[in-house]
Symmetry: C2
């Protein structure tokens, strides 16, 4: 590996001149520039980023923190984040916390240690206080999952309203016992979706019973288990809203295995519109978030913070869409 010193010597100029050729480009006479560029070629030189970063105190790397890359929901958001980042000369790196506090902390240390310039948080294990401090010290934004109180900008949808629409859709189809498959993990989005569910029941004049809520972990398997619990009830629901597509699909699968017909015997609504929601049978009615655009928007907010050190705690609420398919209305 050659250094800037070697290039300077080879070109017969000072390191400052080489640096000028590499960067600002101003005030270097053509002939000198040519000599330097030739030397760079010959030595196959490329600047050592550690040296540069140390001096500049910036890396132009952005980190995306998410709990599990195996959840396809995140993929589109990451693509949106990356698109905007790349357009602005930043590189994006994905860090998989596995919902582990210690791992999450390790990754966040990359911010502290200045190894990344900023972070997009797609879900966090930390509490409001920690997040609030993090937001004060470093450029971070939240995307999709968020904590409002922490003064950290976020991009999200109105989860309560989306859940309200999903459940109202079921109610409008005549269902009077509507189950909820929620999450035992205590995410705010889950709480909001749950309160949207409650509100929709109330507005439809339906009775709420605690038995109607089961708790999963966002995965297929847990959806199946919740469905089995529903089927063991004497007075089982005729419709179920699951706060994630994999849980909805797991439930759908379990119901069908027991011989129930979807949507005749039981209707199902999911959340997130993952690709597979169109592949299962019947296709799944679900809420679509504009994940790609949410990622883009989140990255734009982050860029403002990284570049201009602006720290208005912006809040962006994006539109969602209820996509009606065969799991609630036969033949659609």
């Amino acid at each position: 590996m050659s250094t800037i010193q070697q290039v300077a010597k080879a070109a017969g100029v000072s390191v400052a001149t080489v640096s000028r050729v590499l960067n600002h480009s101003d005030k270097v006479v053509d002939e000198t520039r040519a000599r330097v560029e030739r030397a760079i070629q010959e030595l196959n030189y490329s600047p050592n980023m550690m040296g540069r970063n140390l001096r500049r105190n910036a890396t132009e790397i952005i980190m995306v923190l998410l709990p599990s890359i195996s959840n396809p929901f995140y993929a589109h958001a990451v693509n949106g984040i990356a698109a905007v980042a790349n357009n602005n000369g930043f590189t994006v790196t994905v860090c998989n916390t596995l919902s582990d506090r210690k791992l999450e902390r390790d990754f966040l240390n990359l911010l502290k240690f200045k190894l990344v310039d900023g972070a997009v948080l797609m879900s966090q294990e930390m509490d409001d206080c920690e997040l609030e401090e993090l937001g004060r010290l470093y450029p971070v934004v939240q995307c999709s999952e968020y904590i409002d109180a922490a003064g950290v900008p976020y991009v999200t949808i109105d989860n309560a309203s989306a859940a309200y629409d999903a459940v109202s859709h079921l109610a409008s189809l005549g269902h009077t016992r509507i189950g909820l498959i929620s999450s035992k993990v205590n995410y705010y989005s889950a709480a909001h979706r749950q309160s949207g569910y409650m509100q929709a029941l109330q507005d439809a004049g339906l009775e709420f019973e605690s038995e109607l809520i089961k708790f999963g972990d966002y995965g297929y398997g847990s959806g199946m288990k919740c469905a089995e619990q529903f089927m063991r009830m004497q007075n089982r629901p005729t419709a179920v809203f699951a706060i994630s597509d994999p849980m909805a699909i797991g439930a759908l699968k379990a119901f069908r295995q027991k011989g129930l017909k979807i949507p005749e015997d039981i209707a199902i609504v999911g959340f997130d519109n993952i690709r597979f929601s169109k592949m299962c049978e019947p296709e799944l009615t679900t809420i679509a978030q504009p994940t790609y655009r949410m990622g883009c928007r989140a990255m734009e907010l982050l860029l403002e913070r990284v570049e201009h050190k602006q720290d208005l705690p912006e809040k962006v609420i994006m539109d969602y869409e209820l996509i009606i398919r065969g799991s609630t209305v036969a033949g659609s």
Copy 2:
């Protein structure tokens, strides 16, 4: 942000002593160490990694390069990679190339620029020569998708043999016209699976016809399109082997939409055993790769290269498993 100098001054010692407290721990008397640690606490100091990395010429960060985080197949491998890496004090970062050569190059520059210590390649856009050079210059290993000729270590399964088993399974069920859904992208794994398919046909005494091969892009949608092509044939196959699960599931969906019964009218085998393969109807017969363990093994190889600069081009072939489910044998 405080520096080591400030800590040294606050503790009334030299920077060397502070550094010793931070690192080797040898030869620092207890009382001094206590003073330094108190100063570190008070100043809320943590070492600047850029300075450290510049000096040490290492970052303890490992990069995983993959074409698309939305393909669930990669997630498990990444988890395996991360597990081993974390156990050894390394941080793992995932870089999403979107199969874009330029993006891939940008990410690989992180190696050149010393911003990461090594890389696990899960699929590459570059040609044999570029890969060979990359392997000579930096610690890299291949996982799953690989190029043999480049002298870069790899962990994989025997793709030809796996495809052979899949197709032989179909032949043993009595199918005589067996279609293949392959990839138009020119990955070696696709070529190997295709040659396993050919070999199995030959060994089963079946005729090959070029019409029996259709080409997709690994995704659901392309699987559906291929299935539609098959259905337009006068003499359509009674069984199909797809080299990815999403394509298999897409095909399954398309066949069912046309009223075909699976597996009675047409049997389907996929590849990768993604989670959905158990969620679709009927469940999908597929080849399972030990993805998590492959990730672990790849990371172990990489660690040898990163730490001991060992450069034997090791080749690890792992076992796969044919998982027989309802898409080929009713009721299983």
